[in-house]
Symmetry: C2
Subunit: 278 residues, 2 copies
């Protein structure tokens, strides 16, 4: 089903590249163009069939019917006004950034037909070399319209993500950032802090538990510094909730309070089974 | 290569059952007997070929040449003196508990030929139904002798674990507990605290990051309460190190100090790559 004549993805990395590839595979656009900083990246994307063509220049966004912004947040914001001068007035614009309040407030002022989105899928591995056209299948995609977003545009973006196999959930940018500060940003902070908390000589005794718990500490430092700083208030709050829960465990251990300790550990196990379905 | 005529494993669960199975597969004993609390467990172990025979009674430990204690730590300590009256004086005794200082100090007083061990392998899934004869292959096994441990016994236990495909490392019970409080116990505490820190309504938005980071929060609550309480001093210390590292990240975010933040995140990624080989 063709939804667009020309889709242009700015930043054809893990998320952008996978998205371009998924759109191509589902034949949702006559043409899918990828823009990357380095020539090798879009050439690889073209070679594996993730895009029809590529460029290092954002001027290829001209005539696009859908413009997808998939670079780190700070780059999205940097490129926005130049892109707004390149594209047609009718062009639909969507970003896939991991925090939404800041980026939505800038982009909805810059573009007439903008809808914010965030597919809850990814990996600690970056770049087009790790792209996968099935990355989004079965995952949740959050759309973050505001009172300024046109209903018709929400519906079009909703249809796109549904056809790519995601379960679409609509909420405000503010609620999105609050939820994600707990469900995604906090696990990353925990992973970074945990690996740094372990003395170097002891790391080689880490088993599968440590490996899995810190997998996402392998994520890109610049990308995640951006995310943390663009959602700082919520993240401080989520860190405080973690600190509180750590203190409860620590205090039960110090008091040799086996009953409370078991209660805390059981609650964790049950919440995981019940709400993560594991 | 036969090392023993009769091996008896008390507690043929995930670790004990896998160990019995590995010994049988490598034909290191003429006979491998499993003891479990419930009849169904040793019957299952026998059915899958993990043991030659089983029982719910520890009296089957009579005539054993190697006695393996693989129940939770509190049960090991509870059963020790009764077992010491059942077995022959020459019987080699080994436990596989996750903390060592407390259990070693009790068992080396109870048994003449005792060596403490801890294979760094496992899973959040318990019981004989999750046993696997290859569980230990390629992992590290720590032996924790003291000045009272006979050299000859250390060599025999070292040989056993080497033949099962583990890399054997020898250290004191005290150092073992210090290292493990960081490399294993702290990741578990982090996983339990993290899942409890997230508001219930937000859990369903957790992606693969949250799932992996909290996988070990699915571990058995009683078992881990035992571990935490039998290594409390070291664990309090490891929690403090985590708290310190969390504070550093929190403070960099609060100060909008992007440079420090990137430095912290990069350090985590590099340590993971360098020392966990990931």
């Amino acid at each position: 089903m063709k939804l667009f004549d020309k889709v242009v993805v700015i930043g054809a990395g893990l998320i952008g590249g996978s998205l371009a590839w998924a759109i191509k595979n589902r034949e949702l656009s006559s043409e899918v163009i990828g823009v990357t900083q380095h020539k090798e990246s879009w050439q690889w994307a073209k070679k594996i069939g993730a895009i029809d063509n590529g460029s290092c220049k954002i001027s290829v966004a001209k005539d696009a019917q859908l413009l997808i912004l998939a670079t780190p947040i700070s780059t999205i914001i940097k490129l926005a006004s130049r892109l707004s001068e390149i594209i047609d007035k009718g062009c639909l614009v969507m970003d896939v950034g991991s925090t939404k309040r800041e980026v939505v407030s800038v982009l909805e002022k810059t573009f007439t037909n903008y809808v914010g989105s965030h597919p809850l899928a990814g990996s600690e591995k970056r770049g087009i070399f790790n792209a996968n056209p099935d990355l989004f299948k079965g995952s949740i995609c959050i759309l973050t319209p505001t009172k300024n977003t046109r209903q018709e545009n929400i519906k079009r973006i909703q249809k796109l993500w549904s056809l790519l196999g995601t379960r679409v959930v609509v909420m405000s940018p503010e609620l999105h950032d609050k939820i994600l500060s707990f469900s995604s940003h906090l696990p990353h902070i925990v992973a970074f802090a945990l690996i740094n908390a372990i003395p170097t000589d002891y790391l080689r005794f880490g088993s599968t538990g440590l490996r899995d718990t810190t997998r996402i500490a392998g994520s890109n430092s610049y990308l995640w510094a951006d995310i943390f700083l663009s959602n700082s208030k919520n993240i401080i709050n989520s860190i405080q909730s973690l600190q509180h829960n750590l203190l409860q465990i620590k205090s039960a251990i110090q008091r040799v309070d086996r009953k409370t300790l078991i209660k805390i550990l059981r609650r964790a196990k049950q919440r995981r089974q019940r709400y993560l379905g594991l």
